[in-house]
C-alpha cells in the first residue's frame, strides 16, 4: 500500500512540478515537441531522452515538450495530435512504426508545423510531409554488419540471425540491410535461420540456446543490437561453444566490454547522445530557416576489437 | 365441491423419471381438475419437485404420459410448458436483480415491436394490471433489487398470471411471506380457482393445506400413495400416508434439570437486523428459536459466532463477558454453528467428506508440519458411525452425497469440535424423516450430556419436539419466551406474527 501511495504522491508532485515548469517557460522562443518510441524499454532510448532534455535545457531559446508513446502506434498518433493542439513550433517524432504515423505527420504539416523524424525513418510515402530526417541509417548499419560478418568469417560459413521486435522499423531495416548486403558481398555465407529476440537479452539467450541445439555448425551470429548479441554470447558460453563470431549493432556497454574480453567480434557504434542532439539541432535549424539536408544521417561507424580504442565506452 | 367439466385440467399417468443411480419418480399418477386446488404432499425427497419439473418441461420423463385437457402433450422446455398453459412458480426465487418488476414478470417473452424494441407501454400496463390483481403496492417499473424478499415472491407469482394458465403449480409459496401477504396470496389462488384454473399446491404446512385445498395427493419415495378429498381426511391420516407410520409431534417431555447458565445475551442489537435481544441458555438445555424467515434468528446466531459485529449489548459465556471477534475466536471459546445453508455456508462441495468434517480443527490435527491422516480418518469414522452417514468412502466429494448425508457431515463437523454451546440453524432442512428423528434424538442426547444447545427452526413441530424453551421472534425482536409447559401452537403462531401476549389477551 505504502509503495503505491508514495508513487502516487511522487506522481502528483511531478505533475505539479511539470505544470509549473510549463507555465514558467511561456516566454521562450521555440516550443519543440517530441514523441519518442518507447522510453525505458532499453537504455538507448532512455539515454536519448536524457540527452535530449539536457540539450534542450542547455539552449535557453528552446522549450521542450517530451512525450513517450510506450511503443503503441495509436498512442503516438494521439500524442502528435496533442502536440498540434498545443501549437508547438516543431514536432520531432521517433516513429513507433514508419508507415502508420504518416497520416498524423501529414496532419501536422497541414497545421503548418514542421516535422523532424528521428532515429528511425518513416516510409517513403511520408517524405513529402516531413522537413527532415535526422538519425542513423539503419539499412546502412545492417549492410555494415554484413561486411563485418564477411570479414570475420572470411567469406565462408553458416550463420544465424536474431532480429529485433517483429514489425518495428529499425528491426526490419537492419535485417533487410544485412541480408541484402550479405548476399551481395559474401554469397558464401549462409543464413540458416532467423528468429526474433524482441530487443530482449533473455529472449535472445533462449533463442540462441535453441539454435545451438539445432545446429552444430554455427560460425557466426548477427543480432539486431548488442543487447541481444550479448544474450546470444551468454548462451554460447554456457554451452561451451567457441569460435563463433558475434556481430551486433548499436554498441551497448555490455557489448563493448565483451569486445574488450575478446569474446565479441564487432558492432556498430551509435551514440544516443549524438542522435538526440542532432535531432534537436535539425529542428532548431529548420525553425531558424537554415538549409538542412533532407536525410540528415549522423555517423555510425563500425566498431571492432581492433579499433575500439578510438571510441569511448557507451554509457548505457 | 362443485362439479366441473368431465375432463380434468391435467392428468399425469405413470410418470417415471430416473437419474443416474436413482429412480426419482416411479410410476406417479396425478389428476388435477379445472377449478380445484390440489395439494401435493410428501416428505423432502419424495419426488414432488422432480414431478413438478417434469410437468414444467425442465425434465423429460423416461416413461408416462402428460395429458392436458384430454390431449396428450410433451413439454419440451419451460417456455413450451408455459405456452401450453402450465406455469410453475418456483420455491427458490428466480429473478434477475438488475431488471425491473415488469421485465422479470415477462422475462423471456417481453412484448416487442417488429424491430425487437421492447414495447414499454404495453409491458408496464399489463404488469401493473397483474400487480393490481395481486394487491401489490409497488409498480411495474420498480427494480427488483429494491424489493423485500416477500415482495419478490409476489413478482414470482405475478409471472403465473401473464398467460392464460390452465394449471398453476405453487411450490412452497408461503415460505417467506408474512401473514398479511399470505392472505393476499390465498385470495389470488381462490380467484384463479374461480376462473377454472387447476392449481397444484405444494406445502409442508398442514394448516394451509387443510384450509385451502379441495383434494390432496401424497407421494412417498418417488411413488404415488393416493389421493384424498381434503374434507374427508385428517392430518393424522395424511401423515401416515407420507411417512408410512404415525408420527407424534409431541412436545418434549424429558425433564432434564438444567445446569448453570452457559450463554447469556443482554440487550444485543445489530443495526436493523435485530434489536435488544436478551436470553440465556443453560447447560443441558435446548432453546428453540422460532419465527419467520427474516425475523432475525439466523443473524443472532451469526453474531454469536463472531460473523457480525453487534451494535449494542453484551454476550456472556459462563458468566464472563466476552467480545467475539470472529469465527475462530468463537470456536476457541467453544461455540459451534451449524449454518442455515449447507451448500453455501456449510460445505466445500468439491472437497472430500473427511476433509470437510475436519476443516475447523485441521490446524490441531498435525504431526509435525503435516496433517495426520490417521487422526483425520479416526474423527471421520467416529462421526460417520454415530450419525450413520452413508458415503462410499471418506474420499467421496461431498457434492456427490444426498442432502441428508451432506447435512450430517456438517453436523458431524461441529460435534467433532466438542462445543460448549452448539447452535444449529435449520438442522433438518432437506433431510428425510428417518434422519430427522435421529438428529432430533441427537440434539436431546447432546443436551443431556451437558451441552447448551440453540435450535433455530421454521418447523413448529421440530421446535416443539426438541426444545425445553421456545423463544419467538418477530421482525428482529424477541416477542415472547415460552417454557415447555406453557407453549401452545396458537400462542406460538400469534407470537411470530408480532402479537404480544398482553395485546393478544
Amino acid at each position: 500500500m505504502t509503495t503505491t501511495l508514495k508513487a502516487l504522491v511522487a506522481g502528483t508532485t511531478a505533475m505539479a512540478a511539470t505544470c509549473a515548469l510549463a507555465l514558467a517557460a511561456q516566454a521562450q522562443e521555440y516550443k519543440i515537441g517530441i514523441t519518442q518510441n518507447n522510453v525505458g524499454v532499453d537504455s538507448y532510448q532512455t539515454t536519448y531522452e536524457q540527452a535530449f532534455i539536457a540539450a534542450a535545457e542547455a539552449n535557453e531559446n528552446v522549450e521542450a515538450v517530451v512525450l513517450d508513446a510506450g511503443g503503441d502506434v495509436a498512442r503516438q498518433i494521439a500524442q502528435i495530435q496533442d502536440l498540434i493542439q498545443q501549437q508547438v513550433d516543431a514536432i520531432i517524432i521517433w516513429p513507433t512504426n514508419g508507415q502508420a504515423v504518416v497520416p498524423a505527420v501529414r496532419q501536422a504539416k497541414n497545421a503548418g508545423i514542421p516535422v523532424i523524424v528521428t532515429n528511425s525513418n518513416i516510409a517513403e510515402e511520408g517524405f513529402d510531409f516531413i522537413a527532415s530526417f535526422s538519425g542513423p541509417n539503419n539499412i546502412q548499419q545492417g549492410a555494415s554488419s554484413a561486411e563485418l560478418m564477411c570479414e570475420a568469417l572470411d567469406g565462408e560459413g553458416n550463420i544465424v540471425q536474431i532480429s529485433g521486435q517483429p514489425g518495428y522499423t529499425t528491426a526490419i531495416e537492419r535485417q533487410q540491410g544485412f541480408e541484402d548486403r550479405l548476399a551481395e558481398a559474401c554469397p558464401g555465407v549462409t543464413i540458416m535461420e532467423t528468429q526474433p529476440g524482441d530487443w530482449n537479452r533473455e529472449k535472445s539467450q533462449r533463442v540462441m540456446e535453441a539454435f545451438l541445439v539445432k545446429y552444430d555448425n554455427i560460425d557466426g551470429v548477427y543480432a539486431g543490437d548488442d543487447n541481444m548479441g550479448v544474450g546470444a554470447l551468454n548462451a554460447a558460453k554456457a554451452a561451451g561453444r567457441e569460435g563463433i563470431a558475434f556481430i551486433g549493432a548499436t554498441n551497448f556497454s555490455v557489448g563493448y566490454e565483451a569486445m574488450e574480453r575478446g569474446e565479441y567480434y564487432g558492432s556498430i557504434y551509435q551514440s544516443p547522445v549524438d542522435d538526440a542532439e542532432a535531432a534537436l539541432q535539425t529542428a532548431i535549424d529548420i525553425l531558424d530557416g537554415k538549409d538542412v539536408p533532407f536525410l540528415n544521417y549522423f555517423e555510425t561507424p563500425k566498431i571492432t576489437q581492433d579499433n575500439m580504442g578510438e571510441f569511448t565506452k557507451p554509457v548505457f | 365441491m362443485t362439479e366441473h367439466s368431465e375432463t380434468p385440467a391435467l392428468r399425469l399417468e405413470g410418470i417415471v423419471k430416473t437419474f443416474p443411480g436413482v429412480r426419482a419418480l416411479d410410476g406417479v399418477d396425478l389428476e388435477v381438475r379445472a377449478g380445484e386446488v390440489h395439494a401435493l404432499l410428501g416428505e423432502n425427497g419424495a419426488g414432488k419437485s422432480t414431478l413438478m419439473k417434469v410437468l414444467a418441461g425442465m425434465h423429460q420423463p423416461n416413461e408416462g404420459r402428460i395429458i392436458l385437457e384430454g390431449r396428450e402433450v410433451r413439454m419440451a422446455n419451460p417456455m413450451d410448458a408455459k405456452a401450453q398453459g402450465v406455469v410453475l412458480i418456483h420455491q427458490e426465487l428466480s429473478l434477475c436483480d438488475g431488471l425491473s418488476v415488469a421485465e422479470n414478470v415477462y422475462l423471456g417473452e417481453l412484448p416487442h415491436t417488429k424491430w425487437g424494441f421492447v414495447d414499454w407501454s404495453t409491458l408496464h400496463a399489463r404488469t401493473d394490471e397483474i400487480l393490481k390483481k395481486l394487491n401489490c403496492n409497488f409498480d411495474a417499473r420498480t427494480r427488483v433489487s429494491d424489493l423485500s424478499i416477500a415482495r419478490q415472491q409476489m413478482v414470482e407469482i405475478a409471472r403465473a398470471l401473464t398467460v392464460d394458465a390452465k394449471v398453476v403449480v405453487f411450490d412452497e409459496p408461503t415460505a417467506s411471506l408474512t401473514d398479511a401477504e399470505k392472505v393476499v396470496l390465498f385470495d389470488v389462488i381462490k380467484d384463479l380457482r374461480a376462473r377454472g384454473v387447476g392449481i397444484v399446491y405444494i406445502s409442508h404446512r398442514m394448516d394451509e393445506i387443510f384450509s385451502l385445498s379441495d383434494r390432496l395427493s401424497v407421494l412417498r419415495d418417488g411413488s404415488y400413495r393416493g389421493t384424498k378429498v381434503t374434507a374427508e381426511t385428517d392430518e393424522d391420516e395424511v401423515t401416515r400416508m407420507m411417512i408410512g407410520r404415525s408420527l407424534t409431534h409431541e412436545k418434549n417431555t424429558d425433564t432434564v434439570e438444567p445446569g448453570a447458565v452457559a450463554l447469556e445475551v443482554r440487550g444485543l442489537s445489530c443495526g436493523k437486523l435485530f434489536r435488544d435481544v436478551s436470553f440465556e441458555v443453560r447447560r443441558g438445555e435446548v432453546v428453540g428459536f422460532y419465527g419467520l424467515v427474516g425475523a432475525g434468528r439466523t443473524e443472532i446466531a451469526e453474531t454469536l459466532f463472531g460473523l457480525r459485529t453487534p451494535t449494542a449489548g453484551t454476550i456472556l459465556l459462563d458468566g464472563e463477558e466476552v467480545r467475539i471477534s470472529g469465527p475462530l475466536d468463537a470456536i476457541s471459546r467453544g461455540i459451534s454453528l451449524v449454518p442455515e445453508s449447507r451448500k453455501e455456508q456449510g460445505l466445500v462441495l468439491g472437497m472430500s467428506c473427511r476433509d470437510n468434517m475436519t476443516l475447523p480443527q485441521i490446524g490441531d490435527l498435525t504431526t509435525g508440519p503435516f496433517v495426520s491422516n490417521g487422526a483425520e480418518i479416526a474423527i471421520y469414522d467416529q462421526y460417520r458411525d454415530r450419525l450413520d452417514i452413508r458415503s462410499p468412502s471418506w474420499r467421496q466429494a461431498v457434492g456427490n452425497l444426498s442432502g441428508g448425508n451432506q447435512q450430517k457431515i456438517v453436523i458431524g463437523k461441529w460435534l467433532a469440535m466438542k462445543p460448549q454451546v452448539l447452535i444449529v440453524d435449520e438442522p433438518t432442512r432437506g433431510i428425510d424423516v428417518g434422519a430427522k428423528g435421529e438428529i432430533h434424538k441427537l440434539i436431546r442426547t447432546l443436551a443431556s450430556q451437558g451441552y447448551a444447545v440453540i435450535v433455530i427452526s421454521s418447523e413448529m413441530p421440530e421446535v416443539l419436539h426438541v426444545s425445553d424453551r421456545v423463544i419467538a421472534m418477530y421482525s428482529g425482536e424477541v416477542i415472547r419466551s415460552f417454557g415447555v409447559g406453557e407453549v401452545t401452537e396458537d400462542s406460538l403462531v400469534q407470537a411470530i406474527s408480532g402479537i404480544r401476549p398482553d395485546r393478544a389477551a
Binding site: A74, Q99, A100, V102, P103, P166, P196 | C96, V118, R308
Partner: protein, 329 residues
C-alpha cells in the same frame, strides 16, 4: 417532489460514480492546463478514445453476460491488416475508391466470425470465457503474424487515411462514429429485447433458461458484437494511420476491461450500462490526454493509471457496503 428528484440524481451518481470522477478530472485539467479546455482538444479526446471506446461498447455486453473477451486486441490487429492489405489487391484496382469496400467487409466479417467462434466454443464446450479468449488472444495474434508475415501494410490510397482524418461539419468523423455507436449500443442494451435479456442471462442464468431464453445463441450474438466492434476499431485505427502493423492492439484488452470496469460493469455479470462504460472510456481518455498536455513523465503515468483503477474499485466497494450490519465473510 424536489427531494425525490434530488434523490434520483444522487442515486444516479452512486450508480455511476465514474461520472463524478470524470467531472473531477475535467475540472482539474481545465484549471491546471491552458490547452485542455478547448473544443479541438475535446474532439481529440473523442477521436483518441474511440478505438478503446468502440471495443468497450461491445465488451460491456459480453461482460454483463458474465463473460469476458481477451482476444479483442488481436482482432484489432487482424482487422486492421485485412483492411489495409485487401484494398490494395490487384483484383480491386479498377474499383477506384470502392476498393475499400471489399476490404471493409472482409475486416468486419472476420472480426464478427472470430467473435462467433469464441462464442460457440464458450457455448458448446462450457469452458470459461476467460480461458477460451485467453487462448484466442494468443492464437489470433498468431493468425495476424501468419497473415502479415510480420510485415506492416501501408495504404497506397490516401483517400483511406483522409477518411480517418475527415470531419463531419466541425467534428471529426471518427468522433461522430464513436458517438453514434455509443447511442446505438445504448439503445440496444436498454430498449431491445436482446439487450434486456443480456442482463437476465448475466444476472440469473438459470432464471433466463427457465424463461426460455436461449442462453447459448444469445451469448454468441454478444461475442459477435464485440468481435464486430473490435474489428471496427481496427478499421478506424488503421484509417488514422493509413497503415496496419502486426503489433497493433497489444494490451488493448486490458484497457478496454479497465474502462468497462471503471464504468461500473460487474465482472460477475448482470449489471452495467453503456452510460457507465462511456464514462469509463472518457476517464481514461481525459487522464491520458491531460497528463500528456501536462507532460507527466511516462513512468508516472503507468503508476497513476494503475492506482486510479484500484482506487475506483475501492470507492465502488465503499459505496455498496452494507455498513456495520454486514456479514464478515
Amino acid at each position: 417532489m424536489a427531494t425525490l428528484k434530488q434523490n434520483a440524481a444522487l442515486r444516479w451518481l452512486t450508480e455511476n460514480p465514474i461520472w463524478g470522477f470524470v467531472v473531477l478530472i475535467f475540472v482539474f485539467f481545465s484549471l491546471s492546463n491552458e490547452f485542455f479546455f478547448d473544443m479541438n482538444n475535446f474532439q481529440n479526446i473523442l477521436v483518441q478514445t474511440s478505438t478503446i471506446g468502440l471495443i468497450a461498447l461491445g465488451m460491456t455486453l459480453v461482460m454483463i453476460n458474465g463473460n469476458i473477451d481477451l482476444s479483442v486486441g488481436a482482432v484489432v490487429a487482424l482487422a486492421a491488416s485485412l483492411m489495409v492489405d485487401i484494398q490494395s489487391w490487384d483484383a480491386f484496382s479498377g474499383w477506384g475508391n470502392w476498393q475499400m469496400l471489399p476490404a471493409l467487409i472482409a475486416a468486419l466479417g472476420v472480426g464478427t466470425a472470430l467473435g462467433a467462434l469464441n462464442g460457440i466454443i464458450v457455448w458448446k464446450t462450457g469452458v470459461d470465457a476467460f480461458i477460451v479468449t485467453l487462448g484466442a488472444m494468443l492464437g489470433v495474434r498468431g493468425l495476424v503474424f501468419v497473415y502479415t508475415k510480420e510485415q506492416s501494410f501501408f495504404a497506397m490510397n490516401f483517400t483511406f487515411s483522409d477518411l480517418g482524418m475527415s470531419t463531419v461539419g466541425p467534428v471529426p468523423s471518427l468522433a461522430v462514429l464513436f458517438l453514434i455507436a455509443t447511442v446505438l449500443v445504448h439503445i440496444l442494451l436498454s430498449r431491445t429485447v436482446h439487450g434486456r435479456n443480456t442482463y437476465a442471462v448475466g444476472g440469473n442464468r438459470e432464471a433466463a433458461v427457465n424463461a426460455g431464453i436461449r442462453v447459448g445463441p444469445h451469448m454468441v450474438v454478444n461475442f459477435m458484437i464485440v468481435g464486430f466492434m473490435a474489428a471496427l476499431a481496427g478499421v478506424t485505427l488503421s484509417s488514422q494511420m493509413g497503415a496496419a502493423t502486426p503489433n497493433l492492439g497489444r494490451d488493448y484488452e486490458l484497457w478496454v476491461i479497465t474502462a468497462v470496469v471503471l464504468g461500473g460493469t460487474k465482472l460477475t455479470g448482470g449489471a452495467g450500462s453503456i452510460i457507465g462504460t462511456f464514462g469509463g472510456v472518457l476517464a481514461i481518455g481525459i487522464l491520458r490526454n491531460g497528463m500528456n498536455l501536462m507532460q507527466v513523465p511516462a513512468f508516472y503515468v503507468l503508476v497513476i493509471l494503475g492506482s486510479i483503477l484500484i482506487a475506483v474499485l475501492i470507492l465502488d466497494k465503499q459505496l455498496t457496503r452494507k455498513g456495520v450490519e454486514a456479514l464478515k465473510t
